[in-house]
Amino acid sequence: MANSLFILSLVIIWTMLLYHMFLMQGGYLHYLKYMKPMKEWEKNQQPLPKVSILIPAHNEEVVIERTIKAMLKLKYPREKLEIIVINDNSSDRTGEIIDRYHQQYPQIIPVHTKPPNAGKGKSGALNQGLLASSGEIIVVYDADNTPESMALHYLVLAMQNDPKAGVIVGKFRVVNSKQTLLTRFINIETISFQWMAQAGRWFWFKVSTIPGTNFAIRRSIITVLGGWDEKALAEDTELTIRVYNLGYYIRFFPAAITWEEEPEVWKVWWKQRTRWARGNQYVVLKFLKQIFRMQNKSIMFDLIYFFFTYFLFFIGVILSGVLFVVNSFVDLNLQVGMVSMVLWVLAYLLYVTEVMIALSIEKEEMNSKNLVIVLFMYFTYSQVWIALVMYALYLEIKRKIFKQEIRWYKTERFGSKNNNK
């Protein structure tokens, strides 16, 4: 029995790790070649479409001004750009700041949500913003984002030159990475396990997930899809699947960069990530039933990957941990000997080298301080993640059993200055 469980845990864990290793290889290859079509695209010089940027904002007084300023610096013709800032039921000065900027810059369009459409979370706000927009291309940024000036240009350029792409997603970086140990962890996580994994999935399977910010979607598509799902906690993942089901793919184009603020304290991080995890669990359960009816087989594969991440992987890790502890006290007569220890060491080394590749891509990220943090991160941050996924699953099960209403947790902002750029 113990042996079977141990083998099961090894299979689950290593399925995930191997898949990740494979993605890292793809991510690296994608990094080497993603800029190559740029020259050709720039030559095409098609007339630029009108773009509507949607920025949902709920009590964002700490960060919204900085975000609006960054939007105004975007290198895109003013007459073809509208920046719609949706003040969703804010009780602070968010609305006032937006209105002030609107008076000064007409391309800033305020949308103040009103009951019954107010305070419905990010999806609800985006749907309100969509109603007020007129652009051919819809671009979404979170309220704490400061995109680089060329970010929008790259998103539009990629979309114009890739008709099969329904959505173009860029990459995001952590603006406050040097603020606390937690933001350093998040910075490394963002570079390694979000954008590198994203690049890997795109490279191998032409699959990418909408990250919730710094992405462009064709109006025609979001209209056909009926906007954002207001029930979904992870509206970005949910929208991803619907886009693929429509027959389009989502292109990952890391030339478009945005900087965003990440939680500086563990409590805020825990709440934000619990929402993410629950959101993804919701999406997996929602689409798993129709998995074999999906048009795009790659997204079906991706859904299985999500299922592994949010359901099986942590079970495998916990199982293996429990067996390891029990075996230290009682001989469970595990028949997989030396090789399991070797694999454990290799898993750690793999983790470290994967992160090292990702850090090497970014300027000044591959430094000794980050390297020490990476060595330490495996035993701390990554383990807390496992506990978090478990907790999120518990909440999701509880919500299902007691038919509780979904509450959208708004991430608390800190208004830190960019210490990276």
Binding site: M21, D331, S340, T353
Partner: protein, 525 residues
């Protein structure tokens, strides 16, 4: 010059004689006689008696054929025919005529003798239980373990030669008689003692001169990765110093019943090296036939036997024969399976064995059911020092076997027993007159399983062909399951990727440095 030639010639004759006397048993097995055993029975099931006659006849014949009386083959090529009436039955005129016309000797056994008046004029009138048997003009009476039912005759047998007679009180009954050409064996079944008497009588039947020398062997049993190396060394050193060839029954796996853990020779390297050294010095390695659970399929059995041989071969231990342990529950399929891999068998008798191995013949044999393989019978069973009955049994068996010329005294000695027990056994065996210790390296043996072939010639040369794929050999040496092997392959793949990722990291670092340098040049910094 002539004188020198004489010396060489004389020496050659002496050497030839010595070689001949050493291999006397082998030569008898290689006899040119062809023997047919015909049996009458209403169903097709063979009986133990047929197997026993097969065992004895095979010692004296080149080939033995067994046939039901309804399927009579042509008798032309046979030198000897055994007719065994297992049941009373009216025989077909073809059979009666065929046997009546047969020019060689016929040995009639059991029922239906009255239908062969032309060959031997005898009638069965009754049955009697005898308790003792004896050779006429030979050994004194010996008691059977239990009453044995014999068929009694009403004829005047004064003109017949009685070879074996049974006794009930003071009255004797002929068991084996001859009219000068043919024989009649009056027993309905053959118990152990009668088996020995019959074996000795076969020398007369086949007109072969018996050998005075007896052969003996002590087989050290139950050697496995959990065996106490020091104790084993004491035992083998003692055997060696007394000129007794070492025979070891080896199993590549030992399962600790309490912990459930399996030990392999990779866990007992010193013991493995000791065994290799013994083998190099001439010890004979025999595979201990694995013990199987009741539910196991034939295919699974095959796989296990093949794995055991392959594993031993990987450890440079080359089994040349197989040995059945008396504690095993054997089925007929085990015999069939073994003979497909081995040409030499070791087995003691066991009441629960299939009829083919139920009783040990007193002579080395190659019965038909072993399909050309040789059986070295462990006639003395197993040394059980703490069982007084067993010791008495050993003494009695040695005494019984003494009367059979060229008989074999084989005994199993467990490797966990102490040296003093072995010394006691060797001392006990000193009573065997004209005894020669058997060296199995003087025999031809062959073992064939997929990828491994082991051949031993009569001159003791061992030829091994090992074509095991590297992966299989690696798995045996490291004792890896397929899952573990898969994990090691996985580990290697991951290690390669880790190296690749390191290289990527340095490449990226260089690339980044180059781009920063270009950026600075561009901006004039």
């Amino acid at each position: 010059m002539q004188r020198k030639n004489w010396i060489v010639l004389s020496l050659s004759f002496i050497l030839l004689f010595l070689a001949f006397s050493d291999r006397v048993y082998a030569n008898q097995i290689d006899s040119s006689f062809h023997t047919l055993i015909i049996y009458s029975k209403n169903n097709d099931n063979q009986e133990e008696m047929i197997d026993q006659l097969d065992q004895l006849a095979s010692h004296f014949s080149s080939t033995v054929t067994i046939a039901n009386d309804t399927n009579l083959p042509s008798l032309k090529r046979y030198h000897y025919v055994f007719y065994v009436g297992l049941e009373e039955k009216k025989l077909s005129p073809t059979l009666i005529k065929g046997l009546n016309d047969f020019s060689g000797k016929i040995i009639f056994c059991g029922f239906n003798i009255e239908q062969f008046q032309e060959r031997i004029d005898l009638d069965i009138v009754d049955r009697v239980n005898v308790k003792d048997i004896s050779f006429v003009n030979g050994y004194q009476k010996q008691a059977l373990v239990k009453f044995n039912e014999m068929l009694t005759l009403n004829n005047d047998i004064a003109e017949y030669e009685v070879l074996i007679e049974g006794w009930r009180g003071n009255r004797s009954y002929p068991i084996l008689i001859s009219n000068g050409n043919d024989y009649y064996f009056a027993a309905k079944s053959i118990d152990e003692l009668l088996f020995h008497y019959l074996a000795q009588s076969f020398y007369s039947i086949f007109q072969v001169k018996g050998q005075v020398n007896k052969s003996a062997f002590i087989k050290i049993d139950d050697v496995h990765p959990g065996t106490d190396r020091e104790r084993l060394t004491k035992l083998t050193s003692y055997l060696s110093s007394n000129g007794i060839p070492i025979i070891l029954t080896v199993s590549p796996i030992y399962e600790n019943k309490e912990s459930g853990k399996e030990l392999h020779f990779s866990d007992s390297r010193e013991l493995m090296r000791s065994l290799q050294a013994l083998q190099k010095k001439g010890a004979t390695i025999i595979l201990s036939y694995p013990t199987f659970s009741e539910q196991i399929s034939l295919e699974e059995k095959k796989a296990i036997i093949e794995e055991h041989i392959q594993e031993l071969a990987v450890y440079q231990l080359f089994p040349v024969a197989v040995s059945f342990s008396s504690s095993q529950v054997l089925k007929e399929e085990d015999i069939v399976l073994s003979r497909s891999y081995f040409t030499s068998f070791f087995s003691a008798s066991n009441e629960f064995y299939p009829s083919q191995l139920k009783r040990t013949p007193p002579l080395i044999t190659k019965p038909t059911y072993l399909d050309g393989s040789i059986w070295f019978p462990e006639t003395l069973g197993e040394m059980e020092p703490f069982n007084p009955t067993s010791l008495l049994h050993l003494k009695r068996k040695m005494n019984e076997l003494q009367m059979v010329e060229g008989s074999i005294f084989g005994i199993t000695f467990d490797s966990y027993l102490e040296l003093d027990v072995l010394i006691e056994l060797v001392n006990r065996m000193k009573v065997i007159s004209d005894k020669q210790w058997m060296d199995f390296n003087d025999w031809e043996h062959s073992v064939n399983v997929p990828f491994i072939s082991i051949q031993m010639n009569e001159d003791g040369t061992l030829t091994v062909n090992n074509n095991l794929p590297f992966i299989r050999e690696f798995m045996y040496k490291q004792q890896l399951s397929f899952f573990e092997l898969a994990l090691w392959i996985l580990a290697m793949v991951v290690a390669l990727f880790i190296i690749a990722f390191f290289i990527y990291t340095f490449q990226l670092k260089l690339r980044l440095r180059k781009s920063l340098f270009l950026e600075r040049s561009k901006h004039g910094q």
